[in-house]
Every structure is written in structure tokens, then in C-alpha cells.
Point group: C2
Chain length 462, copies 2
Amino acid sequence: MNYLKNVLLIIITIAFTCPITFAQEDSVMIRTIFDKALNEGKAYEALTELCKDIGGRLSGSQEADQAVIWGKEKLETFGLAPVYLQEVMVPKWTRGEREVAYYTVKGSKKPSDLAVCALGGSVSTGKKGIMAEVVEVKSLTELKELGEDKIKGKIVFYNRPMRATLISTFRAYGGAVGQRVNGAKEASKYGAIAVVVRSMSLKIDNEPHTGVMRYGDAETKIPAAAVSTLGAENLSKALKANPNLKMHLRMTCKNHEDVLSHNVIGEIKGSEYPDKYIVIGAHLDSWDLGEGAHDDGAGIVHVAEAARLLIAAGYQPKHTIRVVFYMNEENGLAGGKKYAEEASNKNEKHLVAIESDSGGFTPRGFGADAPKEFVEMLQGHAALFEDYGLNYFGKGYGGADIGPLKEKMETPLIGYIPDSQRYFDYHHARTDVLEMVNERELAMGAASIAALVYLLDKYEAQ
Amino acid sequence: MNYLKNVLLIIITIAFTCPITFAQEDSVMIRTIFDKALNEGKAYEALTELCKDIGGRLSGSQEADQAVIWGKEKLETFGLAPVYLQEVMVPKWTRGEREVAYYTVKGSKKPSDLAVCALGGSVSTGKKGIMAEVVEVKSLTELKELGEDKIKGKIVFYNRPMRATLISTFRAYGGAVGQRVNGAKEASKYGAIAVVVRSMSLKIDNEPHTGVMRYGDAETKIPAAAVSTLGAENLSKALKANPNLKMHLRMTCKNHEDVLSHNVIGEIKGSEYPDKYIVIGAHLDSWDLGEGAHDDGAGIVHVAEAARLLIAAGYQPKHTIRVVFYMNEENGLAGGKKYAEEASNKNEKHLVAIESDSGGFTPRGFGADAPKEFVEMLQGHAALFEDYGLNYFGKGYGGADIGPLKEKMETPLIGYIPDSQRYFDYHHARTDVLEMVNERELAMGAASIAALVYLLDKYEAQ
């Protein structure tokens, strides 16, 4: 930490003593980066390949393997060298046949379909599926209050919506996702036979949104599904009218043995400090339902294009810029853990790790998960981004994949922040496809990251 | 102007002397407004009606008449009183049959289709259409250089793209739209028999974007069409290979006599100064190709919902809030001119006029077309919007419909500024439909406008 403190002092000193001449040179470089991104950018074309030639790429799938090959070739084409793979064992889970769910009301002939999908990591219901009464709850607390008496043998329906009034939809997600991750584990303690969770989306439509769930120390593993927000609204209404309605759920998903996969790593070697790293990364895996366009294909092409833009702008970094495509963010984080472990074992100096995993929308800024001095250093660069519409530079979340770097080596983390309003409309759903990504918004994200890397490389510690 | 200056002094004094207690009350009110917009907003539902029950509503069309009736009912339902219509004569132009265009290369059997649409106000080609060689130019200057010798008897193809490197796409539009508006008039001077203009869009796709064109003092009125950006790229390439290719264009559009239409006006009466007005407006007409969802259905529901939100939040304005749905912004501005004329004739005091005509995207701020002191007053309110992601408060463009108010009565103008990256993808094209509008982004726009109106009403002059 003493080293880091000295480093930060130097940064701050530089940032405050030489702002004028540097700032002019910097604004020219940043303009060049944005011009190249907007006039002759390659991010959207790369994303098109990833989405349309490969598509959804869940860890352990054939598509994930294809994405690794694609990623390596793409970084090579973009001029990075060397480009290499880092082995990592990842969980493998398969969805099986398309899920089926409906509810029936006594006396009514026609069952009402529910749009559901299995949550990642869930066990199967068995081929015949299950049929049971449903108990609706809004929270884990409510579950506890109901107790075994009211829950045993039933399906627990978690129906707490994301809070629409939070301007950052990521905060709204954070406040609701606990039901999805831990809902099955908790409900199983009271004898529930399955759980159905309202999709993590603020949009009322009929798309179920998958995502990871964990059994943790649960004694009994019960099936867990997501239901579309519209389905959740309908089911809730139906339960008010008929508390004894029965729901059928059928899912044939399955957990397999771990399999070998890879992180993809590419470098632009630093001219002065080749063994000090600035890492920019995103996750190459995605859920299986859509094309993983915003989550996190956008991030992948952001960081690859950011490196390409620096090369195209003729910038020779002092430190080594390392682009990392992490595998398995969605259901295990094995890639992020493995990268940090190896970096730590080799005692590699990581000046900063940046992640893009919030979609390909209009850039709004960067948030740092780092000591106060580092956050202030980041804020010191804000003025250069004003013309490009980035206004937030301050404390923030780094990213899941880079989290282990902070844990292991106290690496300062920076998360790229795009506009968040539309993100959860598509997140983990069938609708997360290329068509929902705007080419300019994507290009501006890549340029923003490239510009930040340029500044950090130039003014960061030696 | 002396009155206005005094007024501004008072505003500035208030803004700087009583910020603390007022600011707390203000932040609570603004939070209430946003909560209501995001939890129980009615903007998206209203836009759905306007887009799906009515659709495109070009001035003088049956749909425009329906929109007037809808608008009056909507403002009444939203609690405004009185709500009334203001008569205005508007131009009427009809598109006729679907336009046809293709080019043929000598020796090649198959003609190549071009996706075109007539520009608003254009004359017809006649039912048989026209066939002629094509001259590509990038600017009006280039046209002049070519002269009659190279242009006479040909179709002029204006192919200057919008500048992708401008972060504000409105600036990029402003730099390219001259070809569309004046291209026919200018080309006719050199004997051109028609013009085809590259669509005003930064996206390369096959959708032609219509928009107004004007003949001005042209002696000969020649047909004017827009070609999709993809069509423009293809035609340009084909011309390089075969400068003598011939293009066929067929349009049966027509200008008619002016017809009677209406502005729709609704009020929330001021409790202290009922005869002083804060105007919030948008235009009710749209082009005919899409549903006029972003242009300017979003603006219409923004301002209607802003008024409703103020009522729902229990705010009793001191000045009269007047919501105006202007007719005929797209091809004449008759509604905006008429409103200003009547306001001027009645010597109505207009404190400020606000317009939303930049789409239903995430709010970024407000720009004022007004004296420096007014701009500074606006900037003084910026801090209250930070939590909602609005960062730009400064000089800017007001709006087309409210422009005449400034001309006639020196009314300070404010334009609502949402994120601009996607706007021209849809603008004036078949793709400007409800599905391209995000409910949260729309709701936040309405809340932003309501919040600003609240602040202006509270701190504005008496």
C-alpha cells in the first residue's frame, strides 16, 4: 500500500501542476479517438459477428468455445500482440427442452400459460413436471413469516418488482435480485417444492429473464424458474381471485461436470513499463436465451475496439494495455477468479482494471471502486469528457470479473457507466440481440474507454 | 425589456439568497414528480393511443383532425381547464401512390431498385415518371461549379452525409439538411429535372426519410425525393462505375388548397397571476410515413403529462401553465405562427415558452434561447436535476413552434434536450413508431419538464 500511496501522490501532483499544455494535447488525442470511432469504428461490425455468427454463449457450450476462437482472432486482427488463451475450468449447465408452465383454476377448462424459463443452475422438475398450489411472497422476510405450515408442498412465487423510481436501474436490480439468487435455497427450508421468480425487468412484457441462482448449503435442491413480468402480474391477479389455483411447471435443465474453457488475453506492450498493466475487460460468456448483445457482447467489443482505437490513433502506451475477455461471469465467475489468481501468483503489477459490463448505451461516465485519492484522480480527468456527454466521474462499482483483482491485489477498479434506462429490458432475455444496440452509442462507449486508458496510461504512476 | 430585466434581477436575487430552505422543499417536490412519473405515469399510454389509434398525422389529413380531437380529450382527462381549439389554416400535401425509383445500367438487364420517398411539398413527376441521367453533388457550391452545362436535363443527386463525428446529431442534421430543403430550388436554376437527396440519417439502412422542401422563388418546380442512406451509397458506387446510368423516378404527390385545422390549448389557471403564462408545447402533426412517435408524439405526451404531474403532485401554480399542441410544425409552422400572433394581439404576458421536439429519449438537460441573465437563471436550477441525470443547462435552441413567440414578443425560449444519438435513425421515416420509444425514458422526460415548470413558476417574476 505504501507503494500505491506514493504512486497516487505523483498522479495527483502531475494532474494539478501541468494541466494546461497537457490538456490541449489530450483534447486533441481524445478528439482523434472519438473521430475514428464514429467515422471508421469496428465495434458494431465485431458485435454483429459475435451476435449473429455465434449468438448466445453460455459457459461450457459449443458457442462459448466458438466465441473464444473468435475473440482470439479478433484481437489479433485488431493489432494486439501477443494474444493468448488462459485455461479455466467452468461450470456447465444446459437448459434442456423449452420450459412449460401454466396454472389452472378449478372449474375452468382452459389452463393459462405462463412464460417462464429455468434459472441458470436450477435442477430439473423431472420430465413429467410438477403441479402444486402457489404461495406469493414479496420478500424473504415474508417467506419466513409464512413458515413451513403455509409453504410445505407448494410453489413459492417471488413477486417483488424492481423499484421503478430509482433512476439507476442497476440499483433497482440490486434491490430485487436476491429473490432470484437465493429464493430457492430459502424456500426449500420451509418445504417448498419449486420457486418461480418475477423477472428482473422494469418493462411489463412477456419475456422471461434468466440469470444465476445458487443452492448454497440447501439440503434439498428445488427447481427455480423466472416468469415474465406480465406473467407475474397475471398470476398475482389470478391468485387473488383463486388462492387455491394450481400451477404446472416443467423444466429439463441439468448441471454437468465442469469443463475446460478459456479467458482470451491480448496485449499492447508498454514502451517504458512493459511489466505494469492497465487491464480493460468484459465477459465473453452470456446467457443462452438471446445473443448476449448488451450483456456483454457490447463490453467485449468496447474493450477490443478501445485497444484498436489507441493503435489507430498512433498512441504508444507506456504501460502494457491488456485486454481480457473473461469467461463465465454469468454463472460462476471462474474466469475473473482465475485471471486474478494467476496475476497474483506472478506478482504482476496492475495499475488499474477497467470493466465494461453495463451495456452498449450512450456513455455517461466512469465509477471507481478504489481509494479516495484514486477517485479524485479520476474526477480530475472529467473535464476532458464533457464535450462527449460524459458527466459522472466518481465513486462507483467496478465490475464482477475484475472484483477478484481488488480482493487479491488491491487493484483500483473502474466501471464504465452507460445510460441504464433500457438495460434491464433486454438483460438475460431472448430480446438481448444486436438490433437493440445502437451503433453510435456503442462506438462512443469504446471511444470513452480508449480515452480513459490513454489518460491513465499517460498520467498514471511509473 | 426593462420589465424583463427587473424580473430577471429578482429571479437571480431569489435564486442566490434563499437557496437552502427552498432547495429542500424543491427537491422533495421534484422527487414527488419523478416518482409519480415512474410509478404511475400516463405518458406512454397516451403515446400508444396517438401512435396506434391514429398514427401518422400530416397537416390537413384526416389523422391530423383525429389527433386534434384526441388531444382535446386527453388534456381534459388530464385535468386541464379550460381546454380549447385555436383555428389555423394549414397547407395540405398528399403523398399519392407509393414512390418508385430505380436505375439501369446500359447492357444490364435488371434495374436496381432505390428506396425513395417524396419530400413534403414536392410536385409530382407525372404518372409516367421520369427517366434521366444522374449528377452527384455533395453541396450547393459543387452544384454551382458544375453549372447548367453539366446539369441540364438531369437528376441532381445530393449525397452529403451528416457528419458522424458531431456528438450532437442535431448539429449534424443542421449541417446537412440544406440540401433537402433548398436542393430542388437550386438545382432547377441549372435546368435539373428532379432531385434525389440522401436521407438525413446517420444509420446506413434502407429507410427513406422524408421532410420538408421549399421551392421559394423557383421559376420551375421540379420533383424532390429522399433516398435511403443505403440507396445513396449504392447509387454513388454505381455512378462511379457507370456515370451514364439512367434513373427512373415516379411520384404522384400533390399540393392542395390550404385547409382549416387547429392548435389544441389547455390551461392550469394561475392562482396569483392568471394572466401571465408559462407555455409548454410540442407539435401535434407529424410526417405520414411512421407514427410520429419520437417526432413529435413524445413531445406531445411530455407536455401533457408534465401538466398532469403538477396537478397530481398537488402543485398549484402561481402563473397560468398553458399546454399547447401546435399544428403544422413539419411543413409550414402555421400553428406556431398563429399562436404567437394571437398572443401578441391580445398582449398576453408570456414569461417563458418551453418546447419538447427532440424525441422521447433519456433527459440530458435544457437549453435556453434567451438573454444571458435568463440562461444564468436556468443554470442556477441545474443542481436539482443532477440526481436525475440531467447535466446540461445553458444556451441552446428553443424550438420551431415557439420561435415566433420570441420574434413577436421577446419571450425567452427553452428547449428540452434528451439524448440525441438515436433520434435521426427514426426521424421522418417509417420506423418512427411507438416500439422505438422506451417507457422510462419518456416518463423521465415528462418529469423533467414538470420539474422545470415548477421551478420557473415558483421563482419567476410576478
